[in-house]
């Protein structure tokens, strides 16, 4: 199970890098969003993937799921949501101000 998730993380990072390397605003923003999801999955995998264990440590303490990664991911998702929303609004404002939707055009616009 961990191997599968790790492979999935790899694929997501690949997609994210491809998107981040483009010069279109929306693609860059999507790239950061995909990257954040890849890393959330990685945190989950790092905590160890188990089925059927409750996140409670019993006296025997044999089979329990680590709840901490989920708490971390929850926080990280909220932050990722806020940042992505901010970036989207910013990209829209840049489009409204300059009429450009990618970095090349914006630079040209600024030089004029």
């Amino acid at each position: 199970m961990e191997t599968l998730i790790t492979l999935l993380v790899g694929v997501l990072v690949m997609v994210a890098v491809y998107l981040l390397l483009s010069r279109n605003f929306v693609r860059i923003i999507l790239g950061t969003a995909v990257l954040s999801h890849a890393i959330h999955l990685l945190i989950l995998a790092m905590g160890g993937l188990k089925k059927g264990g409750a996140p409670l440590l019993t006296e025997e303490g044999s089979n329990y799921t680590d709840a901490l990664p989920q708490a971390l991911i929850l926080t990280a998702i909220v932050i990722s949501f806020a940042v992505t929303a901010f970036l989207l609004v910013l990209a829209y404002r840049i489009y409204r101000e300059t009429g450009a939707d990618n970095l090349d055009n914006v630079r040209r616009e600024l030089d004029d």
Binding site: I39, A82, V83, I94, T98, L110
Partner: protein, 498 residues
């Protein structure tokens, strides 16, 4: 356990939320925001005193004893920085009151500045790596908003680059945290230190530490400073001063904390890399400062040089060098704020931002000119100002560590700092006055006042280094021998059981 430890974060945070509701009553916004920052500084001083008598303080949120919960840890290093950050922010606020303009004030500039301070203080105080990430994000989101406030085209475009780079760095931070958790099973800094010491810092942990180094150098502007000059010269002076004084220092703090507490076992790899990066930063920053004629860019490159200078002390890694670094961080917060404010004032008074377009300002505004001169002397390290003591101690530490290349570069960089600022002074303040008496924009006393106070502060730190010495020495001692930090966080019997 003391609840006072949370106030430097809680007061700015709550005040920011409250004054969001008073968008139109500017007086109330100003009074409350100033009270919040000034009282944070006061609490910082109080806690600093308490640490000297009671030892390192900690606060376990929700009563979860470490390593299970999130906690704040206050040692001398953290609280020196908290106090300095809150003091500098109060003075920058005073400057903002008279310069930033009503349109900014109505667009929540004060709440954002307070959120920024809350994030910065949180980053200094936290004892948990993931909480450090969250505090970083609080600070960064506030800085994103401050950067785009005003909405000029160049600001928006610079902001997009700045935000994308910082978001990327944040996800790398999270990545490093994920690996660290996978490798050690804990995120509490003191517990991490114990686990890493017990199991040894193998290749895996060293690689994770390099990931952290990458992240913090992006935030601090260590070698990876390509984003810094552009984005620090886009916003108004008060906001740029806040960035220049506080933001890079948080990256520096995080780097110093992790590489003196947790990743201390392969200095031949990690600390050498920090040394090389600091050296390249010093060279690159110096070249950058001479390469441009834009006053704000020159000042921004001076931030880069200072980052290199401070982290040379971490690379050397002995107690004297770290004392020097701590003095220098405190000094740099004060003087960079002063320099950004003075530079911003020059630009707003003349409406021009490049060397060669301004001249003879000393005749029009003598006090501003001499304040700029004073900041320059202090930054170069001329006694009796605050830069001197830091430079001397850092020099001693570097000689002790026998890293002569770093020593040479660090002190050569002072010459470049002097030259780049002298260029501004000679070109803009000296020479023929081009502004006549009639067309001269009046300089209000209330605008100049915060810069004067910053000038007095840099003088006071230089003269009163003896007063600061016990705090700085204690801070450096805790960094060199983290055992006292670990014992303050984790109880002895728990340590034995683990």
């Amino acid at each position: 356990m003391t609840n006072a430890l949370v106030y430097p974060v809680l007061i700015p945070l709550l005040t920011a939320i409250v004054i969001t509701f008073f968008r139109n009553s500017l007086i109330l916004q100003r009074i409350l925001s100033f009270l919040a920052t000034a009282s944070s500084a006061g609490i910082g001083v109080y806690l600093l005193m308490r640490i000297q008598s009671d030892g390192i303080l900690r606060l376990d949120f929700g009563g979860w004893s470490p390593p299970y919960g999130i906690l704040f840890v206050g040692d001398s290093f953290a609280l020196l920085l908290v106090t300095a950050a809150a003091t500098v922010t109060s003075l920058i606020l005073l400057y903002a009151f008279s310069t930033i303009g009503e349109s900014f004030e109505k667009m929540y500039v004060y709440p954002f500045m307070l959120f920024l301070l809350a994030g910065v203080n949180g980053s200094f105080l936290t004892g948990d790596v993931f909480n450090l990430f969250v505090c970083f994000e609080v600070m960064l989101l506030a800085s994103y908003a401050l950067l785009v406030l005003g909405g000029r085209k160049v600001q928006l475009v610079e902001a997009f680059t700045y935000i994308t780079i910082n978001v990327l760095a944040s996800w790398f931070f999270l990545l490093a945290i994920a690996y660290l958790y996978g490798a050690t099973g804990t995120l509490n800094m003191a517990h991490l230190a114990v686990r890493v010491t017990e199991n040894g810092q193998g290749a895996m942990l060293t690689i994770i530490s390099l990931l952290f180094l990458l992240v913090f150098s992006l935030k601090a502007g260590l070698l990876l400073y390509f984003w810094l000059p552009g984005s620090y010269s886009a916003p108004p002076a008060a906001i740029a001063a806040l960035f220049g004084a506080l933001l890079t220092k948080v990256g520096i703090y995080a780097m110093v904390r992790l590489f003196t507490l947790v990743f201390t076992h392969s200095p031949e790899i990690t600390h050498s890399i920090i040394g090389i990066m600091a050296a390249l930063t010093l060279i690159g920053g110096s070249i950058g400062a001479l390469s441009t004629r834009d006053i704000r860019q020159i000042i921004s490159y001076n931030v880069v040089i200072a980052v290199g200078f401070i982290l040379v002390g971490l690379a050397a890694g002995n107690e004297v060098a770290l004392q020097g670094s701590i003095y220098y961080v405190l000094h740099d917060m004060v003087v960079k704020a002063m320099l950004f404010l003075a530079g911003g004032l020059m630009i707003s008074l003349t409406g021009k931002a490049r060397i060669g377009e301004i001249s003879g300002l000393l005749k029009n505004y003598p006090s501003l000119g001499w304040l700029f001169f004073l900041a320059m002397l202090s930054l170069t390290g001329i006694p009796p100002f605050s830069g001197f003591i830091g430079k001397v101690l850092l020099g001693e530490g570097l000689i002790e560590a026998e890293t002569y290349v770093l020593l040479t570069l660090a002190f050569l960089s002072s010459l470049f700092v002097l030259y780049s600022l002298l260029r501004i002074f000679l070109n803009c303040f000296m020479g023929e006055a081009v502004i006549g008496e009639e067309e001269q924009v009046k300089l209000k006393k209330s605008t100049l006042f915060p810069i004067v106070v910053l000038g007095v502060l840099t003088f006071a730190i230089g003269i009163g280094a003896d007063v600061l010495a016990p705090f700085v020495n204690d801070a450096a001692a805790t960094l060199i021998d983290p055992q006292s930090y670990i014992e303050a966080v984790l109880d002895k019997d728990w340590l034995l059981k683990d």
